[in-house]
Subunit: 332 residues, 2 copies
DNA sequence: CTGAAAGCGCTTACAG
DNA sequence: CTGAAAGCGCTTACAG
């Protein structure tokens, strides 16, 4: 920096001002400084900058798994479920104009203390927290740290934290109404894990839209294999099933396979509706009719909220709920 | 830190020494400092530390896509192909004992200058670079920056950089020999893109192991859908095919679907061998016989090499080649 | 609009 | 083994 200042014949303070562009600098001087920067190839040292600004210009995307599976299976799930790619795309897109970087931090239970330490050390200015399990202690821990945070779903318990979510029940209702309108008589559902809202709420919403009907449900784990197993269980118990709501597209892909492996046709014998509208929906045979949640937009909103909280620590928490829509394709 | 020093009745220098544990400190003093740290909940400021140590204790995992697809599809591919989860798992596992963090940085062509700036700013001490395309300028750019780096495959051109790879040709040969030993007569292959070694080398190795045979090949893009389309093309042109080598498990999953959609049985009518031994191999029906590359171990080795280069900048580059093995399951 | 100076919170020779 | 002091490379009141 001294080199640049000398080359441009100004003080370091002025160099700093043209780089950060906050206060105005005489045009002629600004240009000569910019030339000097270009000539010397100067790049500011981020550590020195953060030390004084107390900003890292980075935020963490913490993907929390409250259990403690073996390392590989957890990371495999994250890097295999299209959901996380969509979140990353949406968040980075929204962060980019602010010149804020996204650090992806997957963490299982065994790792939580590491993440807490990481956050306390000031590596990032805030956190986007993907944590859905109701018993996950991480949201509360992060909140206790006092670091700005935005959650990806309603926090378990009364935590004063901003979050973004989709209207889970409304989405499930869309699926129920569609199946009903198609004329399905014997309807069942593959739900997600019941200790996470995307599991319990979608199930509750689905059942509440079908009053008077007894809706069998089997729980899956949001993986393709889990959906397949759950669908088999359902078909074993209810061979004449004709309508199926599966709480995620990935699970629906497995469910489709289960239905077809039994020689039943989709949608004529069994109509199947998924949830997400992820890339998995298009991989399905037949292409999946599904409830769309605008994950990229939701992640962008999370990022925008987080930036707002970082810029104004006193800002009061708020929640933003997105409305799902039904995407009709070929499976129902 | 001053607070801790005061509480323990020592200088800040001593507090720093017990935290970093490099030089020895009198046991009694060390304990009282540790108690003071625990009591005050003190956590060192990383920016201040990096400023003097010139270390960030982070390394980047840069996943480079030299083309410029739309953002979503690139991130979708990364977060959908099990390969990247395995790399992340292997690298974080090896980095953890060194207390080094992994920052995942996906980047397409439009983003390269951003990444270069990020690296120059000193956010990380080194980079693990996943870049396979021969025309990707990023490896050379990173090397020019002078920042320690390790590549995930042989660099295009004579770049003095360390890298880790699997013996691609040997792997393809394993597949060829297995198909031959099974008695396959009419053999074809779905290759990866030919401008990346995992595409061209596997194809070359496969053909070289089958001298005298004319081996039709269609190129896929390492996605499930790509593998499916390529297999259909092959089956259109060669309806009596009885052996198929597909250059990745994900593509093999699609190929299996193509074969079965045509009413041909696997492995009795058509034997299929994949490559990777990723989680996709087990999702296949029937379970996929495949060439295993130990991706987690390879990523761990990359991380170990990178740490070595960071600790000793003068260290000369080296390459570490892993040997693949054939995993026999049900598809061939 | 610009510069001189202080200060961000650490680590690390250098003495002792 | 420990402390006083310098210094890492920036930004930002404070004057002018």
């Amino acid at each position: 920096m001294d080199e640049v200042a000398a080359a441009a014949g100004v003080s370091r303070a002025t160099v700093s001002r043209v780089i950060n562009g906050a206060v105005s600098v005489a045009p002629a001087i600004r240009e000569s400084v910019q030339r000097a920067i270009a000539r010397t190839g100067y790049v500011p040292n981020v550590a020195a900058r953060s030390l004084v600004t107390r900003r890292s210009d980075s935020v963490a995307l913490v993907i929390s798994e409250p259990e403690r599976p073996d390392d590989h299976s957890f990371l495999n799930r994250i890097f295999t479920d299209p959901y996380f790619g969509r979140v990353t795309a949406g968040a980075t897109g929204a962060l980019r104009p602010h010149d804020v970087h996204l650090v992806v931090v997957p963490t299982d239970a065994a790792d939580h203390h590491r993440v807490v330490r990481y956050l306390r050390q000031g590596h990032v200015d805030g956190v986007l927290l993907i944590s859905s399990n109701e018993h996950d202690p991480l949201p509360a821990q992060v909140h206790a740290l006092g670091i700005p945070a935005v959650l990806s779903s309603r926090p378990p318990g009364p935590l004063p934290v901003s979050y973004v979510d989709v209207d889970q029940r409304a989405g499930a209702r869309l699926a129920a109404e569609h199946l009903l309108a198609r004329g399905c008589r014997e309807i069942a559902t593959v739900s997600g894990p019941l200790d996470i809202p995307a599991g319990s709420e979608r199930l509750a919403g689905f059942r509440s839209a079908l009053p008077g009907l007894d809706i069998p449900a089997v729980t899956g784990d949001f993986t393709r294999a889990g959906g397949e197993a759950a669908a088999h269980a359902l078909l074993d118990a209810h061979p004449s099933l004709d309508g199926l709501f599966v709480a995620s597209d990935l699970m629906a892909e497995g469910a489709l396979r289960a239905v077809q492996d039994r020689g039943r046709r989709v949608p004529s014998d069994v109509a199947v509706v998924g949830f997400d509208d992820s890339s998995a929906a298009l991989e399905c045979r037949p292409a999946l009719t599904t409830v769309r949640q605008p994950v990229e937009e939701m992640a962008a909103e999370m990022a925008a909220l987080l930036i707002a909280h970082i810029d104004d620590p006193g800002r009061s928490p708020r929640s933003v709920i997105f409305q799902p829509t039904l995407i009709r394709r070929d499976s129902a």
